[in-house]
Assembly symmetry: C2
Homo-oligomer: 193 residues x 2
């Protein structure tokens, strides 16, 4: 979730009307198999490796107080209940170059993902996305130009064919050291609203 | 959750009748404030700092397949629904010496915590605890004798007075690199069973 943290409107911890402001994000954590595959690369090439497990960001960092958080949670429960489990497919390694040097597992942008993304950027949710939605699992970022070229030319040739069933997403919050903790999971069709 | 990983009965990834065996654990993640306090110390003194956020272990690492996991989740939902939010209190830094050199925030062992622990070590749950339950948040471990003495003699004098409301626990699974990912959160009184 790091690449978009800079867009969080006003990250601070001061106490507002509704309590402490904190940095939140929403992500899908894929199965262990895919996480292990991603981490084998992240360990070497992603400075965020220790801050959060491999994930597909649905909503990048945004700030809210506790009152808003509880409203957002009610909305996320409704979204989860309106969603059926679906399969994601990863078929290649791609890159955001020249915008950034981020290298990632490309997750096919199926409607189920786009619908989740759209719901989390409308209504009571802040519309904090700056780019169009490209579902992905980051493998490498912040590499120097030379290393980026070497790593990407090697990884882009990699044969990738991974499938995973998605039946939940997670609301996370950020600690002072930049790491993320899961606050709540939302399992499709299983939430009390 | 690391100190007890060694007791997990048989951690492997081979496919059994019920699917892949994975390593699971159950923990309470305290509020950001307490996590930040703990991480300021863990960053320097705990090699597990990057593997899992600060936590109170309710059930240390155990293995199960996917079929058992789904049964365990049903049971955890019942346990969560039978639990009311409660307050934990941290009033000092303590140590497991001479058993281990682990230094931790001592969490007062109130009945609410002990009841959760007991429920997660009986019935369908494997009874994988070897010691009696001492609720704590690890701050330092695996220190050399000299460093341990220095750190502990300094930290034991620290004035600590932290309170937190607990209204959920989380089921986590372990990746190959030893890090933990949250699989599901269980919010007290909020689960569909």
């Amino acid at each position: 979730m790091r690449e978009l943290i800079a867009y969080a409107s006003s990250f601070d911890n001061e106490k507002r009307n509704g309590g402490f402001m904190m940095n939140y994000g929403i992500a899908i954590f894929p199965s262990k198999k895919i996480q292990d595959e991603a981490n084998a690369l992240r360990k070497r090439y992603d400075p965020q490796y220790t801050k959060i497990p491999p994930h597909v960001t649905l909503k990048s960092a945004f700030t809210m107080d506790e009152v808003t958080r509880d409203q957002v949670i009610q909305e996320l429960k409704k979204i989860a209940n309106d969603t059926k489990p679906f399969t994601i497919h990863i078929s290649k390694v791609s890159s955001f170059a020249p915008v950034t040097h981020t290298i990632y597992f490309k997750v096919e942008p199926i409607p189920e993902l786009t619908i989740l993304f759209d719901k989390m950027h409308s209504g009571i949710f802040p519309d904090n996305n700056e780019y169009s939605f490209v579902p992905h699992i980051t493998l490498a970022q912040d590499l120097m130009e030379d290393e980026y070229s070497d790593v990407y030319s090697s990884l882009r040739m990699k044969e990738v064919d991974l499938n995973d069933t998605v039946d939940r997403f997670q609301l996370c919050y950020q600690l002072e050291d930049g790491s993320w903790t899961v606050y709540e999971s939302f399992v499709f069709g299983q939430e009390v609203t």
